[in-house]
Amino acid sequence: MLTAPKLDYALLAPILIILGTALLGVIVEAFVKQALRARLQLVIALAGISIALGQLYLVRNQGSSIAAVTSVSIDGSGIFIQGAILIFAFLGILIIADQDHFAPQASTLPGSIEEASALESGKQQTEVFPLTLFAVSGAMLFPIATDFITLFVALEVLSLPLYLMVGLSRRRRLLSQEAALKYFLLGAYSSAFFLFGAALLYGYSGSLSLNGLTDAIRGSGGNDVFLLLGAAFLSVGLLFKIGAVPFHSWTPDVYQGAPTPITGFMAAATKAAAFGATLRIFYIGLDAAQVSWKPAIAGIAVITMIFGSIAAISQRDIKRMLALSSIAHTGFVLIAVVSLNKSALSATLFYLVAYGLATIGAFGIVTLVRDSAGEVTDINRWVGLGKKSPLVAAVFSLFLLSFAGIPLTSGFVGKFAIFSAAYESGNIYLVVAGVLSSAIAVFFYLRLILMLFFAGETNGSVSVVIPSVLTRIAISISAIATVVLGLAPSLLLDVAQNFAYFLR
C-alpha cells in the first residue's frame, strides 16, 4: 500500500505562494485586457511576495529537515536566504515595474514594423512579472534543496526564466538578445557539468541526498575518483552561478546586455540563492571531504577577488564595472565558504543581504541616468553628475562606498564579519588577499565617485530622469538599509547569527 508522502505545507508555503502567484500572473497575462494588465501584474506580484514573506515570518522558527520528505531542509540559513530573496524580489519588482525598460513584445524583430507599432500602441507585454516570480520560486528552492534532483530542478527553475528576462530589453535589443544567448548557452553548459557531477556523486555514494553523501564520505575516507570528480563538476555549476573566476565570463556581458532592472534583481537574488546552495553543499554535503576541495576553492576565492578588482579598473561601462565588482564580491563570500564555521555562515548571510540591497539600489540608479536613446552606461558620460543631480550622485556614491567597504556602510560590516570568520578559521592568507584586493577595488569605486563629483565639465546630453515613485521607494529602501546596517549592524547581524545553522 502506497502512502502519500507527508508534506509540511506551512513550511513550504512561501515557495508555493510564489509559484501560485506566478501562475496567476500567467493567467492575467492571457486574459486581462491590455490597459489593466501592467498594474494588476504589479499588484499581484507585490501581494504574492508580501504574503510569502509574511508566511515565512510566521514559520521562521520552525526548522525541519523533513518538510518534503528528504528533499528540502528548511532551516535557519534557508529561511534567512528565502527572506532575503523575497525582499530582493520585492525591491526588484518595484524597479521592474517601470516598463520603459522592456521590449513591448519580445518576439518582434528588432527594428521591425511590428516592434514600432507595438511601441506606438502601447501594447506592452508584461510577462516579466510572472517570469520574475518563477525565478524567485527557483531561487527560494535552491538554497533549501538537499538532494541532487531538487537542486538541479531548482537551479533550472531559477535559471530558465532569467535567460528569457535577460533578453527583454527595449533598447539595444541585439545586445540584450546576445546576452540572453550567452547566458543561456553557458548556463546550460554549466548545468550539464552540475548534473554530471551529481551523477558521479550518486555513483560514489549511492544516494542522491547530501546526507547520504556525507555518510558515504565518512565511511570511505573520501578519495574516490567519483567523489573528487563529482565534487569538482558539481562545484562548476555552483561557481558559475555565483560568478567565480574562471566561470565568470558571462557576468560582464550579461549584466551589460540585460535590462538594468533585471540586472539588479539577478545580481542580488541569484547570488543569494546560489550562495545559499553552495554553502549548504559545502557545509553539509562535502564537509567531510574538505581536505580535498578547500585549497582549490580558496584559490578560486583569491583569484576571483583579485581578478574582479583588477579587471574592473579598466571598464568604461558602468554596468560591466558593477559586474566585475560583483565578481570581486563573490570572491569575498567564497572566503566564507571555505572558512566552514558558524561565524562565516552568519557573516555570509549578512553580506548577501547588504550586498544585494546595495546592488539593487545601484542598478536602480543606473536606470535613472539617461539620454534620448535610453540609459547611459558609458562611465565617461557620468562625469559631473554630482553637479547636475547631487542627490542621485550622492546616493550612488553611498552604494559605491558600501561596495568598497568603507566604514559606516553595510558593506564594511559584511566584509569585517567575513574576514574575521576567515581569520578565526585560520585562513589568514585569505584575509590578507581579501584586504589587498579591497585596496585595489577601492580605487575604481573612488575614481567613479571622483568623476561624479570632481571632474571638470558636465555632460550636457545626459540627464537624470525623475524616478517613478516605485523606483524611488526601492532606491530609498536600499540606501536607508545600507546606512542603517552600517551604523547599527546589530539589527541584522543578531538575526543572522540566530539563523546561521543548517539542519541535516
Binding site: 573528487l228 569538482a232 562548476v236 574562471p246 565570463s249 581536505v291 583588477i310 580605487f443
Partner: protein, 629 residues
C-alpha cells in the same frame, strides 16, 4: 647660596617692554625709544644694586638664586626656570645692561631718522632680555633659551633693513651659522643629561669628577662648537663680517661687546668640564689661536670700517677663548679681557657709527681721511679705544691682553711657545690693522666727496662714546688692581691657587716683547699708509687678496657645504618624485596594465568563454586531485 626674588625682573622688564613695543605698533612710535631706554637703565640700576648687595655678602652666600617656576618636569628630566646670579654672571649683567643702556642712548640719536625706530628699540630690549637670561640661567637648558634668544635678536637686528636682499641674506647666514653652534650646545646638554641626570650647572659640576674622560671631552667639544658658533670662532666665524649689515649700535652691542662673547661665558661657566678634560682644552686653545690670527689677518685688508672692526672682534675673542683653554688661571683673564674689550670695542664701534653718521653712511675707509679734524670728540674716544686694544699701558688692554699672552707662554713646553707666539704675533697684527684704521680714517688727507659734510655727532651720541672711552682707559687698571677680578671670580672658576710649574717668562719681559711687536706693527702701518688711494689697489699680494676674501672661508663653505647641499636637495626632490612616488605610481600602472590585459580576454565569443570554463574545470579537477593525493 642666597635666595633672591628680584632676579626675574632683570629679564622680565626688558622682555615685556619689547613685547609691548612690538604689540602696540605705531601707537608707541613717539615714546618707544625713551621707554626702552628707561627700561634698560632700570635693569642696569637693578644690576648695580645686586652687585652691591652681593658685595655685602660673604663667600658662599654671594651667589643668589631664584626659582621662578617649574618649567619642564618629565621623569628625571627636571628643569626649573631658575636664575643664578653669581660673581661671574654679575660681571655680564653689568656689562650688558651698562653698555646696553649707553647704546640705547646713542641709538636715540643715531636712529632718529629711521621710520622704524620703535621696532629697533624693541629688538634691542629683546636682545637684552635674552642675553641676561643667557648669563643668568642656572642650567644649560635655561642658558640655551637665552642662547637662541640672542641669536633671534641678532637675526632681527642684522636684518633690520631687510628690504635690502644682501642684508636679509646676512641675517639668515648669521642665524644658520649660529644654529650649527646650537647643535653643539644641544648635544652637549643631551650628553650631560645622559651622564649626570641633570642639566643644572651645579649638578653637572658635582658629577663631572666622576665622569669618563671620553664623555667630558665630548661635552667639551660640543660646548666649544657652540661657543664657536656664537662667538664667531673658527670654523664658524664667517657670519660676523656680514653681520655688520645691522645698524652700527647693534654691531657695537651685540657683535662686539656682548653676544659674541657668550662663547667665552659658556666655556668659563663650564670650567668644571674643561678643567677635567685636557683634550677639550687643547681644542679650545687651538680654536682660539687660529681665530685670533685669522681675524687679525682679515682685519688687515678690510676697507669697510665696520668689517675691519668685526675682524678685530673675532680676533680679540680668539684671545679670550684661548685664555679659557688655559685652565683655571685663564678664565679670569679671559673675562677681564672680555670686559675691557666690551668697553673699547663698543666705543670704537660707536665711533665708527658716528663717522658713518657724519659721512652719510659711507663705510669705506678709503673715502675717509682727516676726519679727526672735523670730528674731534669721535677721534679722541676712538683713539683711546685704539690705545686700549693695542695694549699700551696703562690703557685697559694692557692689563687684560698682556695677561693672556703671559699665561699662554706659561702653558709650558712647545704648546706654550706656540700659543705665546701666536698671541704675540696677533698683537703685532692687531697693532698694524688698528693703526691702519686710524690712519685711513682720522689722519692723512681727506678723500671724501664734495657732497659729504662730515660733522661731529650730537651729545646723545658722543656722551656714550665718552663714557665708554673712560672705561677703555680705566677698566683694566681697576679690574687688575689687587687682582680684583681674579679674586672675585675665584669661587666660580675654582682656581685652586696652585703655583704653576714655573713662569716661562717674567711678566716684565712679556710686556716688553708685546710693546715691541706692537710698535713694529704701528710703524709698519704708518709707513705703508702714507698715501692712500680711494680705489682699493688690485695689484696686491696674495695674502691681501686672501684676507680680503676672508681667507676664503666663504668660498670654502660654498664649495664644500652649500653647493653639495643644493645638489643634494635638488637630487632628493627629483628622487622623491621619480623614485618614491614613481614606485607608487608604477604599482598603479602595473595594475592598470593588467586590467587592460584582462579586459582583452573578455573577447565576446561564447566559445572562448566556454573554453575558459573547460580549462577552469580541468584546473579545478587537477587541483583537487593533487591536494588529495
Amino acid at each position: 647660596m642666597t635666595t633672591s626674588t628680584n632676579l626675574v625682573y632683570l629679564i622680565a622688564l626688558p622682555l615685556f617692554s619689547a613685547a609691548l613695543l612690538l604689540l602696540l605698533g605705531r601707537i608707541a612710535d613717539k615714546w618707544g625709544h625713551i621707554f626702552a631706554t628707561l627700561i634698560s637703565g632700570s635693569v642696569f640700576v637693578i644690576g648695580v644694586a645686586e652687585f652691591f648687595a652681593m658685595q655685602d655678602r660673604d663667600g658662599e652666600a654671594r651667589a643668589a638664586t631664584q626659582k621662578v617656576f617649574e618649567w619642564i618636569s618629565v621623569g628625571t628630566f627636571q628643569v626649573d626656570a631658575s636664575l643664578l646670579l653669581d660673581q661671574l654672571s654679575i660681571c655680564f649683567v653689568l656689562l650688558i645692561s651698562g653698555v646696553g643702556t649707553l647704546i640705547h642712548i646713542y641709538s636715540i640719536a643715531y636712529m632718529s631718522h629711521d621710520h622704524d625706530r620703535r621696532r629697533f628699540f624693541a629688538y634691542l630690549n629683546l636682545f637684552i632680555a635674552a642675553m641676561l637670561l643667557l648669563v643668568l640661567g642656572d642650567s644649560y637648558l635655561n642658558l640655551y633659551v637665552g642662547w637662541e634668544g640672542v641669536g633671534l635678536a641678532s637675526y632681527l637686528l642684522i636684518g633690520f633693513w631687510n628690504q635690502k636682499p644682501e642684508y636679509a641674506t646676512a641675517a639668515k647666514k648669521a642665524f644658520v651659522a649660529n644654529r650649527v653652534g646650537d647643535l653643539g650646545l644641544s648635544l652637549a646638554i643631551m650628553i650631560a643629561f645622559t651622564q649626570f641626570g641633570t642639566v643644572t650647572f651645579a649638578g653637572v659640576k658635582e658629577g663631572a669628577s666622576g665622569a669618563s674622560a671620553g664623555a667630558l671631552t665630548a661635552i667639551g667639544a660640543m660646548l666649544l662648537l657652540a661657543a664657536a658658533g656664537k662667538s664667531a670662532q673658527f670654523p664658524l666665524q664667517s657670519w660676523l663680517g656680514d653681520a655688520m649689515a645691522g645698524p652700527t649700535p647693534v654691531s657695537a652691542l651685540i657683535h662686539a661687546a656682548t653676544m659674541v662673547t657668550a662663547g667665552v661665558y659658556l666655556i668659563t661657566r663650564s670650567n668644571f668640564i674643561f678643567d677635567a678634560s685636557p683634550t677639550a682644552q687643547l681644542m679650545v686653545v687651538t680654536v682660539g689661536a687660529i681665530t685670533l690670527l685669522f681675524g687679525a689677518l682679515i682685519g688687515t685688508a678690510k676697507d669697510d670700517i665696520k668689517k675691519a672692526l668685526a675682524a678685530s672682534t673675532m680676533s680679540q675673542i680668539g684671545y679670550m677663548i684661548l685664555a679659557t683653554g688655559l685652565g683655571p688661571v685663564g678664565y679670569a683673564f679671559a673675562i677681564m679681557h672680555l670686559l675691557t674689550h666690551g668697553f673699547f670695542k663698543a666705543g670704537m664701534f660707536l665711533g665708527a657709527g658716528s663717522v658713518m653718521h657724519g659721512m652719510s653712511d659711507e663705510v669705506n675707509m678709503r673715502r675717509y681721511g682727516a676726519i679727526g679734524k672735523v670730528m674731534p670728540i669721535t677721534a679722541a674716544t676712538f683713539g683711546l679705544g685704539y690705545l686700549a686694544i693695542l695694549g699700551v699701558p696703562p690703557f685697559a688692554g694692557f692689563y687684560s691682553k698682556d695677561k693672556i699672552i703671559e699665561t699662554a707662554f706659561n702653558a709650558g713646553g712647545i704648546e706654550g711657545i706656540l700659543l705665546g707666539g701666536a698671541t704675540l704675533l696677533g698683537a703685532a697684527i692687531t697693532a698694524f690693522y688698528m693703526t691702519r684704521v686710524i690712519v685711513l680714517t682720522f689722519t692723512g688727507t681727506k678723500r671724501w666727496d664734495e657732497n659729504a659734510h662730515p660733522h661731529e655727532s650730537p651729545l646723545l651720541m658722543w656722551a656714550p662714546m665718552a663714557i665708554l672711552a673712560i672705561g677703555s682707559v680705566t677698566s683694566g687698571f681697576l679690574l687688575n688692581s689687587g687682582s680684583a677680578l681674579v679674586n672675585w671670580l675665584q669661587p666660580v672658576v675654582n682656581e685652586r691657587h696652585e703655583h704653576h710649574a714655573e713662569e716661562f717668562l717674567p711678566p716684565l719681559v712679556v710686556s716688553t716683547m708685546a710693546l715691541v711687536v706692537v710698535a713694529i706693527g704701528i710703524a709698519f702701518a704708518i709707513l705703508k699708509y702714507r698715501t692712500v688711494s680711494v680705489i682699493a689697489p688690485t695689484d696686491v699680494s696674495i695674502f691681501t687678496k686672501a684676507a680680503r676674501k676672508d681667507l676664503y672661508q666663504d668660498s670654502f663653505n660654498e664649495a664644500v657645504l652649500m653647493r653639495p647641499g643644493q645638489k643634494l636637495t635638488a637630487g632628493l626632490v627629483t628622487t622623491d618624485y621619480k623614485v618614491i612616488d614613481g614606485l607608487v605610481r608604477s604599482v598603479g600602472w602595473i595594475i592598470q596594465t593588467t586590467s587592460s590585459a584582462l579586459r582583452s580576454i573578455q573577447n565576446g565569443y561564447v566559445r572562448s568563454y566556454a573554453l575558459i570554463m573547460v580549462l577552469g574545470v580541468l584546473t579545478l579537477v587537477t587541483a583537487i586531485w593533487m591536494v588529495t593525493l
